[in-house]
């Protein structure tokens, strides 16, 4: 395996409403920022994650290439998923060994449509979509299957929103209050806020990583796993695919200073914490996490960026990032980010 590291990360000041910018206009400043940070204007590979259904326009991701300048032609790919999965593709591409840098970005404007019903469109068209099962409803089914402790969930939202208020990129949301249900057992504040935003990450391999960053955030392990789509085929109270991905990524091979988890509903935090088997002293979502800002299709990549940022600025030595896709945590990606390159770690371990 080649040592691959996150060397730069940028994200927008996310917005809870439509600011009047197109997706490409939202994206452009963060691409500029990572170019400035790395001094690179072209990359060996470019990969993005977005969802055409958010804008309701086919190939909307192609317009986003305007934010890059794709001439002369660039080597480019796209996933119709959160950009964390685009980062995985870029990491695989860097393993080929013929290129040393990759640009990964994701963006989403949930304010344009009705996210709850846009997410219905990802469901299987025979058994689930015809029922009109919306995103908050299926998440509520999972919350009910888990049967989480109300006080614990309230505290997760309170902590996430407080951390979000301290994060200039996240929304300013008040402490949770109210006893109304959105879809019981979920209260409105258990649900990640509708958010517009974008994020970009630069990956570098080998010597280039050391040239571009003082302490690159090395990807010590990265893996993703998936479960059956149909909710009734699964035990919704557990996330075995997140647990498998965490084992494959090597989460348990060392201490974890910080974990950034793609928690879009408060009950997902205890589920993921258990699945990833995180130590008690691990700080969860110090950025506020998606409960404080959830630019769909970028929010998972932001978890990787936020975890990497803490390695890059020396505040953490080992961090974990998680991203998810599909209904009720169907697919989960887990990455371990470390201040030491995995090859040296391996050499030390002999």
């Amino acid at each position: 395996m080649r040592d691959v590291a996150v060397v730069a990360f940028a994200q927008t000041a996310h917005s809870g409403h439509d600011t009047g910018l197109t997706e490409a206009e939202t994206l452009h400043p963060v691409i500029e920022e990572v170019r400035r940070a790395t001094g690179l204007s072209r990359f060996g590979f470019t990969c993005s994650g977005s969802c055409d259904y958010l804008a309701g326009a086919p190939f909307s991701f192609v317009s986003a290439l305007d934010a890059l300048g794709a001439w002369p032609p660039i080597s480019e790919s796209h996933v119709e998923m959160d950009a964390a999965f685009a980062l995985y593709e870029a990491w695989v591409r860097l393993q080929h060994g013929d290129i040393d840098s990759a640009l990964v970005y994701g963006f989403g404007k949930s304010s344009t449509g009705d996210l709850r019903e846009v997410m219905t469109l990802q469901l299987d068209p025979y058994y689930l979509a015809p029922l009109g099962l919306d995103q908050v409803s299926y998440a509520a089914l999972q919350a009910a299957a888990l049967g989480g402790d109300r006080a614990e969930l309230d505290e997760i939202v309170r902590r996430s929103r407080a951390d979000g208020r301290a994060n200039p990129h996240a929304l300013d949301l008040p402490d949770p209050s109210g006893t109304e249900y959105e879809v019981e057992p979920l209260r409105p504040y258990d649900i990640a806020p509708i958010t517009d935003g974008a994020a970009a990450v630069v990956l570098a391999a080998g010597d280039l990583a050391r040239e571009l960053a003082e302490t690159p955030a090395y990807i010590g392990g990265i893996a993703h796993r998936i479960e059956p789509h149909y909710l009734g085929m699964r035990d919704l109270s557990r996330s075995p695919s997140a647990a498998d991905a965490a084992r494959a990524a090597g989460v348990g091979k060392g201490p974890v200073d910080v974990a950034e988890l793609h928690v879009q509903f408060s009950h997902e935090e205890p589920m993921l914490r258990a699945a990833l088997d995180l130590p008690e002293d691990t700080v969860i979502n110090p950025s506020g996490g998606p409960l404080a800002a959830n630019p769909v299709m970028a929010a998972g990549l932001i978890r990787l960026g936020e975890a990497a940022r803490r390695i890059l600025d020396g505040r953490a030595r080992r961090a974990v990032a998680h991203a998810t896709s599909g209904p009720c945590l169907q697919q989960n990606l887990v990455a371990v980010l470390e201040s030491a390159p995995p090859s040296e770690e391996g050499a030390r371990r002999g």
């Binding site: 439509d18 068209p125 058994y127 299926y138 509520a140 089914l141 879809v183 409105p188």
Partner: protein, 322 residues
């Protein structure tokens, strides 16, 4: 609010008024998108049209409902064996939708649920029309309610409804009741504004209302004894369910030991907030005006505080009860 629809889809206005550059955009396949079902899902939907629910057996002998082409555990193709399941099943997890959305299967509050149909090894996701969230629980038994004209769609099941576990059984019979000799005598005196008791000579106890035999020793009571319309509250209850005899809710019903009686009589207490009524409180009957009196306890509206000092009940009740 995470669930608020964007203004573009509802009104097309902003705080500053209508935005002339904001357009409504609809993504739709007119008439719907045509999809082939394949043999496995097609079999399920065909059976559904005939109001049967089938699962498919896997090589590992599990029954998948709804059927999938491949066993999610092993990736192996499922067997060709279809098994009728349900139609009843058991709710595993449920989520209550307070405000249904346009795309939802019901237009009134309902539950989403994972339902383990009898004979199935997996759960079906569907709606449950249960009326209220408190009717839902894991373990609830439910059955499908079928659409009038099934067409081979998962929505041929309109929703599931709870099995019958309760019925409402009306009970009603009418009677003509008379109070009997002793109470007739009592009510005759009540019409005159007098509360009549009876004294047992053997036990030296005065019973109110008047009765003709002693409940303690069984001898005939021969002595009528008029008692006062004042007395002491010995115990009481605050009632929060309406009663036709009480003017309002909450009301207080109390045991009142009338002066001169040895047995307390139950009556309403009024003219005082419910929370101020206490044991030992002195009260007096509030009578309706003489011209309105009948042979009925309605002659006494209720008992109201006299304002006298409370009686210390720890020393025994006044009137010298045994």
């Amino acid at each position: 609010m995470p669930s608020d629809p964007p203004s573009a889809l509802s009104a097309g206005t902003t705080a500053a008024g209508p935005d002339p550059l904001e357009a409504r955009h609809v993504l739709e396949f007119p008439g719907g998108y045509t999809r082939s079902t394949g043999p496995v899902i097609g079999r399920f939907l065909t059976e559904l049209r005939d109001r049967r629910i089938v699962g498919v057996r896997t090589a590992g002998a599990r029954v998948l409902v709804p059927p999938l082409e491949y066993d999610p555990d092993t990736g192996e193709a499922v067997t060709g064996e279809y098994v009728e399941v349900g139609p009843a099943g058991t709710v595993q997890a449920w989520a209550w939708v307070r405000a249904p959305r346009a795309g939802h299967p019901l237009d009134r509050p309902f539950a989403w649920a994972t339902i383990r149909l009898d004979g199935a090894d997996t759960s079906l996701v569907h709606a449950v029309d249960a009326g209220a969230a408190k009717a839902m629980r894991p373990g609830l038994r439910v059955r499908p309610r079928w659409r009038e004209r099934p067409s081979g769609n998962i929505t041929d099941i309109e929703c599931f409804v709870p099995e019958v576990t309760m019925i409402n059984a009306p009970v009603r019979a009418e009677y003509r009741v008379r109070p009997g000799a002793a109470l007739t005598r009592f009510f005759t005196k009540i019409k005159d504004g007098v509360i009549l008791g009876g004294r047992c000579a053997t036990c030296d106890q005065v019973y109110v209302p008047y009765r003709t035999s002693c409940p303690s020793c069984g001898v005939l009571i021969q002595e009528e004894r008029e008692v006062a319309d004042t007395g002491t509250v010995t115990t009481f209850a605050i009632n929060n369910l309406p009663d036709p005899r009480a003017p309002e809710v909450p009301f207080v019903s109390a045991y009142i030991m009338l002066d001169g009686a040895d047995i307390p009589m139950i009556a309403l207490v009024g003219g005082v907030p419910a929370h101020e009524v206490r044991q030992g409180m002195r009260v007096r009957a509030v009578w309706v005006p003489p011209e309105e009196r009948t042979m009925s306890m309605a002659n006494i509206r209720w008992f109201a505080p006299t304002g006298e000092p409370d009686v210390d009940l720890s020393a025994g009740v006044p009137g010298g009860g045994v």
